[in-house]
């Protein structure tokens, strides 16, 4: 599937336009890389500073005592170690929310791709429409609904909305159409395998790159989820990292303020480390998942 893509690219690169445009592209891309990495560099460098040297030094170079380990230690013990609790909460929301979203999207996407039933076009329209609605727009109505059901300020107010991933469903759907040959399913049926057994022993294996892609998207989305927990949760013991860190940041404002900018920065660095690891580890699946369906076999 990827071979024809590569062929086409190499064909193009041998044309007379290629050298000039590639220089330009390289320059543009380098700019983008710098643009994307600069904040990361700032974050990494700043997390090695004490609060005093944060204020008095140039942001993109080291200054003052090297306080990274002290900062990490302080981040974990500040306010009786609530950072660790937030870390656990984020993990819980990711496992339940993103895990559930991936499972549901896989089942539904596969079903829509491989089974014919009345109303399929309608479902298609609803899913496409749902992709177009940003989650933020639904946050307030969801809050009002959940508050009537008495679910606000519980972990379910974060997990349940995270379970819905129309984009993931669509991705699996498109991926399943191409990667699970209908002939294979028919063969399995002829051999007497039930639909569930066919799904788990044959289709799921073929779907792995798509599933990992959807999982990656859901994990990143849930890990970074901000607005929903902001309005749903008031108990700091339920906060995910995003809200918790913002609360530490807010602490710098107003009467009785206790600025802990160094801990906010170190906490942010610690927050993105797991997601970077997950991303680097799973990105090969992501690339192959994204190109799914882009080329006719």
């Amino acid at each position: 599937m990827t071979t024809p893509t590569l062929d086409r690219l190499s064909e193009r690169s041998s044309s007379w336009l290629a050298p000039r445009s590639s220089k330009l592209l390289t320059a543009a891309m380098s700019l983008f890389v710098i643009y994307s990495l600069l904040p990361l560099a700032w974050l990494t460098i700043s997390s090695t500073k004490t609060m005093d040297s944060l204020f008095g030094s140039f942001g993109l170079w080291f200054d003052g005592p090297f306080a990274l380990f002290q900062n990490i230690h302080d981040t974990f013990v500040y306010q009786d170690g609530i950072f660790l609790r937030w870390f656990g909460n984020t993990l819980l929301y990711v496992v339940l929310g993103a895990g559930g979203a991936t499972a549901l999207a896989t089942l539904a996407g596969y079903g829509l791709a491989k089974f014919v039933f009345p109303g399929k076009r309608g479902v298609f329209a609803v899913v496409l429409g749902a992709i177009a609605v940003p989650g933020t727009a639904l946050a307030v109505p969801t809050f009002l609904m959940f508050s009537q059901m008495g679910l606000t300020n519980t972990i379910w107010s974060i997990v349940i909305p995270s379970l819905i991933s129309p984009f993931g469903l669509y991705l699996i759907w498109v991926y399943a159409v191409d990667s699970v040959p209908t002939e294979l399913l028919e063969a399995a049926r002829v051999d007497g395998a039930g639909e569930l057994r066919t799904f788990f022993t044959i289709s799921l294996r073929l779907l792995v790159p798509g599933v990992v892609t959807v999982a990656l998207f859901s994990i990143v989305a849930t890990w970074n989820n901000y607005f929903l927990p902001l309005i749903m949760l008031s108990d700091p013991n339920l906060f995910p990292l995003t809200i918790g860190l913002n609360q530490w940041n807010q602490q710098a404002s107003g009467i009785g303020s206790e600025p802990v900018f160094n801990l906010v920065i170190t906490g942010s660095l610690l927050t993105i480390v797991p997601i970077i690891i997950v991303f680097l580890y799973l990105q090969r699946y992501w690339q192959s998942g994204l190109s799914a369906g882009s080329v006719k076999q």
């Binding site: 204020f55 508050s147 009537q148 606000t152 108990d235 009467i255 009785g256």
Partner: protein, 452 residues
């Protein structure tokens, strides 16, 4: 353990009784003789005692640093009561969450901290419990007149926790270095700003970007302006009264001559500017020393505090900048217990001591006048007895100030109206006129009769 707890309860009860007796003694100044042991409809103080004895659980939202220690002390004194403490981080998030919970009809805490300026908004919306029936009227003599006025309009809607009478914090090291005198009038203040900029353009007399409505309104208050008058549904707004113009005129000079830094307050840049002295003064509330100590340790020893400059060189007059009270919400299932906690929180010696230990600036007359408080020498302020200056400020707050019933909204649009003037280095009066128009429109939409 049990014995100790018992002793504490006994001590607390005894203290409360004594306090009550003291209050009866001093509250007979011509007021209609209501007995404090409350035969009234709410059951008065008795209902509170009974509720504290019976126990239960309540939720308390706050962003006060001392809250955790206060709640722990309370639970030790009243073992039957369980207080769930929620740190809301800051006033903004606190108000948004509270407004959400009130709109949703559930989820609000029993007791919550509110800034004085946000209080009328929740009071008018019928979201708070009138504490008059719990005998809270007897507590009036405990608090400074300006803070008590903020919680008592047609009822008693909370108890003051802290106050923020304004004073002028200045960086003595910078003043000495550039040979400046501490200004006593705003004209001298402007001259000091000019001298500072002339000597070194990196140094500014203060910072203000026209985005902090709390500062703007406090400065108008200090200049003698009383732009808001609220009488039930009738609201009068005049942001061009004499006092407002007096402030806007002198402050426009600072902005137009580029003497103020436009760094936004509470940013990391701001803390850095205070630590280095490049922001050389701050006219701000008396709660600021705690912020200095926790946020700008690099500037330790450099700062001092002086009374606010005046416009006419006469007697110092100041204003409240910030400060907050705790209130009981209508959603509370156990308002008597919530009121009991609130009463302990903001009027018991034990609780106020915890609050003071964390660097808070109280609203209670007794603490403000105690020799221990006044003679405290602050190391951060080079050993200055700062509380003498700050308590003088607390005693010279201009009277008669009112906030709008929609002050939180008004403050949120202040930056849109006044901020651009700072960027264009224009006349702040124009910004105030624009702010007035927005408020008249909004107030009318909300069903108030708004006069100008």
């Amino acid at each position: 353990m049990t014995a100790r707890t018992l002793t504490r309860v006994a001590a607390a009860t005894a203290a409360a009784t004594l306090l009550g007796a003291g209050l009866v003694a001093c509250s007979d100044g011509g007021s209609p003789g209501g007995s404090p042991d409350g035969s009234g409809p709410g059951g008065g103080a008795d209902a509170i005692e009974a509720a504290l004895e019976a126990g239960g659980s309540i939720t308390y939202w706050t962003w006060t640093p001392s809250a955790e220690a206060q709640v722990a002390a309370f639970e030790e004194a009243y073992p039957n009561v369980d207080v769930t403490l929620v740190d809301t981080g800051g006033a903004n998030d606190n108000n948004i969450k509270l407004q959400n919970a009130i709109s949703a009809g559930s989820g609000a805490p029993d007791v919550v901290q509110l800034e004085y300026q946000a209080l009328p908004q929740f009071m008018i919306a019928d979201s708070l419990v009138d504490l008059t029936d719990y005998g809270f009227g007897d507590l009036e003599p405990l608090y400074t007149p300006s803070t008590w006025a903020s919680v008592s309009q047609d009822g008693i809607w909370g108890l003051p926790q802290d106050s923020g009478p304004m004073a002028l914090f200045y960086n003595k090291r910078v003043f000495d270095e550039f040979g400046l005198e501490v200004p006593t009038t705003w004209d001298e203040y402007i001259d000091a700003g000019r001298a500072l900029q002339a000597a070194d353009p990196e140094y500014y007399i203060t910072n203000d970007s026209g985005t902090d409505a709390g500062f703007g309104t406090a400065m108008i208050w200090q200049a003698g302006g009383r732009p808001f008058a609220v009488d039930g549904e009738n609201v009068t707004i005049d942001l061009e009264d004499e006092g407002a113009q007096r402030w806007a005129d002198s402050w426009s000079t600072l902005v137009q001559e580029d003497l103020v830094s436009q760094i936004a307050g509470w940013s990391d840049e701001w803390f850095a500017g205070l630590a280095s002295g490049k922001i050389a003064t701050l006219p701000i509330g008396a709660w600021m020393p705690g912020v200095f100590e926790s946020g700008t340790q690099a500037g330790a020893g450099d700062w001092r505090v002086a009374p606010m400059p005046t416009y006419d060189g006469g007697e110092p007059v100041t204003a409240e900048n910030g400060g907050s009270a705790q209130v009981v919400t209508q959603q509370s299932d156990n308002p008597a217990l919530a009121a009991g906690f609130l009463q302990w929180l903001n009027s018991s010696d034990e609780s106020i001591q915890v609050f003071l230990d964390k660097g808070g600036f109280p609203a209670t007359v007794k603490e403000l006048n105690s020799e221990e408080f006044l003679s405290h020498q602050s190391d951060f302020f080079g050993g200055q007895e700062i509380n003498r200056v700050l308590v003088d400020a607390a005693n010279s707050v201009g009277t008669g100030w009112q906030y709008l019933p929609w002050q939180a909204y008004a403050n949120s649009v202040y930056a849109d109206a006044v901020g651009p003037v700072y960027l264009d280095q224009g006349d702040i009066n124009d910004g105030l006129v624009a702010w007035q128009e927005q408020n008249v429109t909004y107030g009318t939409q909300q069903g108030f009769t708004v006069g100008e």
